[in-house]
C-alpha cells in the first residue's frame, strides 16, 4: 500500500466523493453535507483510510478555498465592492466585533485568561466561506438579500484574517516566539520577509499587492492572448492554474492570506476579456478541491475528543451556533433586512469557519492558546460546520414556511453583476450588427468570440466581449446562460452553429435561440432541434436586392414589398417541410423543384388576380356581379 500510496489515497477520496455526493443530493442534503459525511466515513474513526496525513491533504484542500475566492473576485467588479462597502464594513465589522466580544466575555466567565478568550472570540467569530457560498450557490440563493448580505460579511471576515494574524502575537501569554516559529499553518509566513525590519515587510507587502494589481492590468491580457492564439485549450487551463498558484506563493512569501491575494487578483482580472475563459478553466478544479476540503473537514473531526466529554462538546456547539445566530439576527434587524432575509442570513453564518483551523494552529505556535483549549474547539468548529447544511434545511423546511414571508430576489439591489438577458455568440459581421441593434435598444448583451484579435479590438472599443468557444457548456454557463433568456448564434461557421445550438439545447433548455445559418442543410439540422428562429445569412439581403431590382424595372414599390414578404413566408414554410424529408435525397430534390414551381405559380397568380385578399374591396367587379347588394343599395 505504501508504494501505491498516492494513488490509493486518490482512489479513496474520489470513491468517497463519487459515492456520497450523489446519495446526499438525492436525499436533498446538498453536496457539502455529502462531502463531510464522506470525510467522516473514510476518516480515522470509521474506516480509517485517511487521517494521518491530514496535514498534506489540508494544504491541497485549502487550495480549493483559494480558487473559490479567486473566482469570487472574478465575478466582482471594483465598483460592486464599492457599492457593498456599507454591508461589508458595517455588517461584517459589527458581526466579527460583537461576536468576538461576547465569546471573549463568556470565555473569561469560564476562567480563561482574557487574552485567550478574546483570541478565541475572534477565531469563532469567523464563518465558513466555503460551506456557505457553496450551499447558497447550490440553492440559488446568492442573489437574494440574505445571500448578498451573507456574502458581504464573509468577504469582511476573509479580509479580517490579516489583521487578526497580525494581532495574535500581542495576545500571546508567554514570550512571543521568534519569527521562524509560526511556520506550521499553510497561511503562515515562511518567506524571506521575516528577516526584514518592520518597514521592510510593509514595503514588501505593498509591493506584492501593487505587483499583482499591475500584472493583472497590463501583463495578463497580452500573455493570455498569446496563449489563446495557440488554440490549445489545456494551455489556457495550465496558465490559469499557474496564475493562481503564483499568487498563492507570492502572498505566502510576504505573510498575507493567499485567499485574499487570490481574491484581489480575481477582482483585478474581472475586467479582462479572458475572464470567462479563466473561470471556466478553474471551475472544475475549484469544485474538486473544495470537495476535498470538505472531506478533510469531515475526516478531521476528532471523535476521541468528542467521546471524552460529549456533553461538553454538544453544549459548546449549540452555544456557538445560538450565540452567532442571535448576533446575526440582531444585525439583520438593525440593518432593516426583511424577515426572510434575516432568517437566511443568521442560519447561513452561524458556524465556525475553516480559517479557524489555521488560526488555531497559528495561535498554538504563538502561545495564544493552550492545546487543552484548541483540541475541543477544533471539534466544535468542525461540528458546527457539518451542521450548517442541516441548519439550511431546517430553515427551508421548517421555519421559513411557517414564519417567513416570501422573499423577493433583490432585483433593485443588483449588487452582484447584472447578467445580460442576451448572449451573442460570434461577433463578426452578423453578430456585431445584431449587437449594435441590441445596444441601440438598451439591451446590454454579453458577447463571446473565439478570435483573440477580434476580441482585443472590440474590447478596445469598449464592448463587453469575452474570449471563448461558445459550444462549451461551461463557458456558456460562466457567460450567464443559466440566467439569460436568449442566445443569438451569429458565428460564421455553420458546423459551429449547430454545435453551439446542440450544447445550449442540452444544458440550457430554457434559452430561446435565434440562429444564423448558411443554407438549407444547416437550417434543417436546427429545425430538427426544435429551433424556430433561423436566419439564413444571405437570404434577407438577397430578397432585398431582388426587390430593389424589381422596382428598378418599374414595378410598384408597395407591390414589390408585398411580393417579397409572400416569397419569404412561403420559402420559410417550405424549409420546415423539407427538413422532415431531407434524408431521402431523391425525394428532397424532387420536392424542392416542385416547390419552387409552386411558389412561382402562386406569386404569378397573386399578381394576375389583383391580390385577391388585398384588393377585393377595391375591385368593382365583385360588387357589380352581386345583384343583391346593388339592389340593396338602390332601395335606400
Amino acid at each position: 500500500m505504501h508504494e501505491g500510496g498516492f494513488l490509493f489515497q486518490a482512489f479513496v477520496y474520489l470513491t468517497a466523493a463519487v459515492v456520497s455526493v450523489p446519495v446526499a443530493k438525492k436525499l436533498g442534503l446538498g453536496s457539502v453535507l455529502g462531502y463531510l459525511i464522506a470525510g467522516v466515513v473514510i476518516g480515522p474513526f470509521v474506516l480509517g483510510f485517511v487521517g494521518e496525513e491530514g496535514q498534506d491533504v489540508m494544504q491541497f484542500a485549502e487550495f480549493g478555498i483559494i480558487m473559490m475566492l479567486f473566482l469570487i473576485g472574478l465575478e466582482l467588479q471594483p465598483e460592486m465592492i464599492w457599492k457593498l462597502k456599507r454591508a461589508i464594513l458595517g455588517m461584517g465589522g459589527v458581526q466579527v466585533g460583537v461576536t468576538a466580544l461576547l465569546i471573549g466575555v463568556a470565555g473569561v466567565g469560564f476562567g480563561l485568561r482574557w487574552q485567550t478568550a478574546l483570541a478565541l472570540g475572534l477565531v469563532l467569530g469567523l464563518s465558513s466561506t466555503a460551506i456557505v457560498l457553496q450551499t447558497l450557490n447550490e440553492k440559488g440563493l446568492m442573489k437574494t438579500d440574505g445571500g448578498q448580505n451573507s456574502f458581504s460579511v464573509l468577504l469582511f471576515q476573509d479580509i479580517a484574517i490579516i489583521p487578526i494574524l497580525a494581532f495574535f502575537p500581542l495576545l500571546a501569554t508567554g514570550s512571543p516566539l521568534d519569527g521562524s516559529g509560526h511556520g506550521d499553518g499553510p497561511h503562515a509566513s515562511t518567506g524571506w520577509v521575516d528577516g526584514l525590519p518592520i518597514w521592510g515587510r510593509t514595503v514588501a507587502v505593498l509591493g506584492v499587492v501593487a505587483g499583482i494589481v499591475l500584472a493583472g492590468k497590463y501583463l495578463v491580457n497580452p500573455v493570455f492572448r498569446l496563449i489563446a492564439t495557440t488554440r490549445l485549450r489545456e494551455l489556457v487551463t495550465a496558465a490559469a492554474l499557474l496564475l493562481v498558484i503564483a499568487i498563492t506563493i507570492l502572498m505566502a512569501q510576504v505573510g498575507l492570506s493567499p485567499a485574499l491575494g487570490a481574491f484581489l487578483a480575481g477582482v483585478v482580472l474581472a475586467q479582462s476579456e479572458y475572464r470567462h475563459e479563466l473561470e471556466t478553466s478553474i471551475e472544475p478544479f475549484k469544485g474538486l478541491l473544495l470537495g476535498l476540503f470538505f472531506i478533510s473537514v469531515g475526516a478531521s473531526i476528532d471523535f476521541q475528543v468528542i467521546a471524552a466529554d460529549p456533553a461538553l462538546i454538544i453544549q459548546l456547539v449549540l452555544a456557538l451556533i445560538v450565540l452567532k445566530f442571535l448576533v446575526l439576527a440582531a444585525i439583520g434587524k438593525a440593518f432593516r433586512m426583511s424577515y426572510d432575509a434575516i432568517l437566511l442570513f443568521a442560519f447561513a453564518l452561524a458556524q465556525g469557519g475553516e480559517f479557524a483551523f489555521v488560526l488555531f494552529s497559528f495561535g498554538l505556535n504563538n502561545n495564544v492558546f493552550e492545546a487543552s483549549v484548541v483540541d475541543p474547539m477544533i471539534a466544535v468548529v468542525a461540528l458546527s460546520m457539518a451542521l450548517t447544511p442541516l441548519l439550511f434545511m431546517v430553515n427551508e423546511k421548517l421555519i421559513r414556511p411557517r414564519f417567513g414571508t416570501k422573499e423577493r430576489v433583490a432585483a433593485e439591489a443588483g449588487v452582484i453583476e447584472e447578467r445580460s438577458r442576451v448572449i451573442i455568440a460570434g461577433f463578426g459581421r452578423v453578430g456585431s450588427t445584431v449587437g449594435r441593434f441590441m445596444q441601440a435598444n438598451d439591451e446590454e448583451a454579453t458577447y463571446l468570440d473565439i478570435d483573440p484579435d477580434n476580441v482585443d479590438l472590440l474590447r478596445k472599443m469598449g464592448l463587453k466581449v469575452f474570449y471563448g468557444d461558445a459550444s462549451r457548456a461551461d463557458l456558456l454557463r460562466t457567460a450567464g446562460a443559466s440566467e439569460a433568456e436568449l442566445l443569438v448564434i451569429a458565428v460564421d461557421d455553420p458546423e459551429k452553429t449547430i454545435e453551439i445550438a446542440r450544447t445550449a439545447r442540452k444544458y440550457f433548455p430554457h434559452l430561446d435561440i435565434v440562429a444564423r445559418t448558411g443554407g438549407l442543410e444547416d437550417s434543417c439540422e436546427l429545425i430538427d432541434m426544435g429551433i424556430t428562429s433561423i436566419y439564413r445569412e444571405t437570404f434577407d439581403s438577397a430578397l432585398r436586392m431582388g426587390s430593389e431590382a424589381l422596382s428598378t424595372l418599374g414595378h410598384r414599390k408597395y407591390n414589390v414589398n408585398r411580393a417579397m414578404k409572400t416569397f419569404r413566408k412561403h420559402d420559410e414554410q417550405h424549409i420546415r417541410e423539407l427538413a422532415a424529408m431531407r434524408h431521402d435525397r431523391k425525394t428532397l430534390i424532387r420536392e424542392t423543384k416542385q416547390r419552387i414551381e409552386d411558389l412561382e405559380r402562386l406569386m404569378l397568380r397573386e399578381r394576375d388576380e389583383l391580390h385577391r385578399d388585398k384588393e377585393l374591396g377595391w375591385d368593382a367587379t365583385g360588387h357589380m356581379s352581386d345583384e343583391g347588394h346593388m339592389r340593396d343599395g338602390k332601395n335606400r
Partner: protein
C-alpha cells in the same frame, strides 16, 4: 356566455399608460380574447383568412384603440379594409358578421366636454365615430355606443385604475349577457351605463 374579441391596435403601446392599464385589467377574463394587431402583424401583412376565422369564433367584436386625429391607427384601418370585405362581411352573400355586437373602445387626450358642437372638437364622439356605426349597420351588426375614456393626457394614476376596473366590469357584463343592446343604443357612451349601475 358570449365570447368577446378585442381587436386592439396601438402603435406605441409601451408608452400608453391608460391602454396598458385597460389591457392589464382583462388579462384573466374568461371568454375574452385580446388580439393585439401591432404585435401580430409588425409588417402590416394581415392574414385575412385567419382573421376571418377569429371573428367567426366570437360573438362580440370590440375595437380598442387610441383616438388620434379623429380616426384609428393605420393598421386597424388596414385590418378593416382587408378583413371586412364584400362577399364575406356584407353584400348579399356576406353574412359572417350578422347579429354580432360591435363596440368601439377608445381613449382620447382631450376631455369629454371638448367633444361637442360648441366644444373644441366641434363634433360629439358618436358623430366622429359615424363611419364605424355605419360599418356595423352595413354588416348587420348591433352597434353599441362607444366606451370612451377622455382626458388621458392629464389623468391621475387613481383614475386610470378606476377606468380599467370599470372596463373590466363592462366586459364581464357583456360576456354574461347582462345587457339588452336595444336599451343601450340611445346612450352617448357605454360607460354611462356603468356609472348608473354603481
Amino acid at each position: 356566455m358570449r365570447k368577446i374579441l378585442i381587436v386592439f391596435a396601438h402603435p406605441a403601446f409601451e408608452k400608453s399608460r391608460v391602454n396598458r392599464a385597460l389591457v392589464g385589467a382583462l388579462a384573466d377574463l374568461d371568454g375574452v380574447t385580446l388580439h393585439d394587431l401591432y404585435e401580430r402583424y409588425p409588417e402590416m401583412d394581415v392574414d385575412v383568412k385567419a382573421e376571418q376565422r377569429l371573428l367567426e369564433a366570437n360573438d362580440i367584436v370590440i375595437l380598442q384603440y387610441p383616438f388620434f386625429l379623429y380616426g384609428m391607427p393605420a393598421l386597424l384601418k388596414e385590418w378593416m379594409d382587408l378583413v371586412l370585405v364584400h362577399g364575406w362581411a356584407f353584400g348579399s352573400r356576406g353574412r359572417a358578421m350578422r347579429g354580432k355586437w360591435f363596440c368601439p373602445v377608445i381613449t382620447t387626450g382631450g376631455g369629454r366636454l371638448s367633444y361637442a358642437r360648441e366644444g373644441f372638437n366641434r363634433f360629439s364622439i358618436r358623430e366622429l365615430l359615424a363611419p364605424l356605426e355605419q360599418t356595423a349597420h352595413l354588416c348587420g351588426m348591433r352597434y353599441l355606443p362607444p366606451f370612451a375614456i377622455h382626458g388621458t393626457n392629464v389623468m391621475k394614476p387613481d383614475a386610470v385604475r378606476e377606468h380599467a376596473s370599470r372596463y373590466r366590469r363592462m366586459l364581464k357584463l357583456l360576456a354574461d349577457d347582462a345587457f339588452d343592446p336595444a336599451a343601450l343604443e340611445k346612450l352617448d357612451y357605454l360607460d354611462d351605463r356603468m356609472t348608473e349601475k354603481q
